[in-house]
């Protein structure tokens, strides 16, 4: 396999000295990270290290107390940031597949494109159906979320985010609350996105998935980025003691 160095691609998100507190508790203690177009970053680290919080800062679900996030040319720490506009371009999928329970699958997917982006219905519908077909759920488009399995719901949630045509996708432990037999169907969808060149930041605990999907692994511990490595190197020869220790826990 030829590895293309995507760090030469244009910069999409640049994080500088990002700090986040919850009340008096420091959660993120100055993070620096760059994300290039087409790159897949996987963030690993023990529970509570701040990786989910970091992801949520990137689309403004958490306010930050210090540092900068630069998305393309916009400085998101600017007070006048139009977060609605930013969030159209930074899609996010959560752990608790939160589809809207009072809407059918297709209405869930079309809400953003029609109401936020004010797109033409037939055009958005065509895209939604195309995406549904790709994740193998076109036949469920008129179902309600409660009629679907966890894995199906999560695939729909991914389609819902994709239908906004985002430039970046954030995945926050999207398989963590799934039954083991459903994890794969969701990871396959993400893997395919990676192959198509979607820019992504993924927080996960699935180590072999991380190894196969990531361009770079970002290892976090206690609110800091401890190391950023090529996946092969990270899993065979981690640079830091903390990463070694972390990986040991996962080798049973």
């Amino acid at each position: 396999m030829i590895t293309i160095n995507k760090t030469n691609n244009p910069l999409l998100i640049e994080v500088k000295e990002l700090k986040k507190n919850f009340d008096d508790k420091e959660i993120l203690k100055g993070l620096n990270l760059s994300l290039h177009k087409g790159e897949v970053l996987v963030i690993l680290g023990p529970s509570g290290c701040g990786k989910s919080t970091f992801l949520r800062c990137l689309n403004g679900l958490e306010k930050i107390q210090g540092g900068q996030i630069i998305f393309k040319t916009k400085n998101l720490t600017d007070k006048n940031t139009n977060w609605q506009e930013v969030r159209e371009q930074i899609g996010m999928v959560f752990q608790n597949y939160e589809l809207f329970p009072h809407m059918t699958v297709i209405d869930n997917i079309l809400l953003g494109p029609l109401k936020v982006q004010k797109r033409d219905r037939s055009e958005a519908l065509a895209q939604a159906e195309h995406l549904l077909e790709r994740v193998g759920l076109l036949d469920r488009k008129n179902d309600y979320p409660r009629q679907l399995s966890g894995g199906q719901k999560q695939r729909i949630a991914i389609v819902r985010a994709l239908c906004m045509n985002p430039e970046v996708m954030l995945f926050d432990e999207v398989t963590a609350s799934l039954d083991p037999e459903m994890v794969r169907e969701v990871l396959d969808v993400i893997l395919n996105l990676a192959k198509e060149g979607m820019t992504m930041v993924i927080v996960t605990h699935e180590m072999s998935f991380a190894k196969s999907v990531a361009d770079r692994i970002v290892f976090m511990d206690e609110g800091r980025i401890c190391e950023i490595s090529d996946p092969k190197e990270f899993f065979t020869n981690p640079k830091t003691e903390r990463a070694k220790h972390f990986l040991n826990i996962f080798q049973y």
């Binding site: 977060w83 609605q84 939160e98 589809l99 809207f100 809400l111 953003g112 936020v116």
Partner: protein
């Protein structure tokens, strides 16, 4: 059946008068339910704010209507407020005002409860799609809250209908009052009239309350299927 007390309804305009009483009862109840619901939704929405002063006023309003008996409120408005402000309000208007305020206070709490019971992730998922606050309420929160509000709202509406029987005490001739008048005037002719009149009142209350619980059942079934 010649001497049966059920004939009390055939005497004069007795039955028609009962229906007129029912109309007064329904009028006070349904206008108050309607206005109270609208006000209550606004109150409920305002209770999701973080502004302390708004929360305090809302809280005070709700507690006042919960702690002070409704009858006292009717007296306060009928005898107190009218004298203090030197205005003339009919018992019916006072009843509608008091029942609307009570309905609004209780409804506000139902709306608040429904909104707060929605999982936080729903808000975040909506935000992550780029919805602004107004769109979030319109497409995500309110439609789901309405589904959770139905049982409480129907319960409140039937309670309001039944509690209108208090308006007799500020001189409004509602269904119960008409019934009492009929019993009084027919006491000698039909000694057992009380039984029949109250049975009829029971049926009439049932007729206006039952459709509400049917609607509630239907809506719940529709949304849960």
């Amino acid at each position: 059946m010649q001497n049966s007390a059920i004939n009390v309804f055939l005497e004069g305009k007795n039955f028609l008068r009962l229906l007129e009483g029912l109309l007064i009862t329904s009028k006070i109840a349904f206008i108050s339910i309607f206005l109270g619901t609208i006000l209550g939704i606004l109150i409920g929405l305002s209770r999701t704010t973080k502004l302390k002063i708004v929360l305090f006023i809302n809280r005070l309003f709700l507690e006042l209507f919960r702690i002070v008996p409704l009858l006292v409120w009717l007296y306060i408005f009928y005898f107190g407020v009218t004298t203090a402000l030197n205005i003339d309000l009919s018992g019916e208007i006072v009843s509608i005002i008091v029942f609307t305020l009570w309905g609004a206070a209780e409804m506000g709490d139902i709306v608040r409860g429904a909104l707060q019971s929605l999982p936080k992730h729903q808000i975040e998922s909506g935000k992550a799609l780029g919805l602004n606050t107004l769109e979030l309420y319109r497409y995500i929160l309110v439609p789901q809250a309405v589904r959770r509000m139905v049982p409480g709202t129907i319960n409140l509406a039937t309670r309001m209908i039944k509690t209108t029987s208090l308006v007799v005490l500020i001189g409004v001739t509602d269904l119960v009052k008409v019934g009492q008048q009929i019993i009084e005037t027919s006491r000698f002719q039909y000694p057992t009239a009380a039984f029949w009149v109250y049975a009829m009142i029971f049926i009439l209350y049932f007729i206006i309350c039952y459709p509400l619980s049917q609607i509630s059942k239907k809506l719940e079934r529709k949304w849960n299927s």
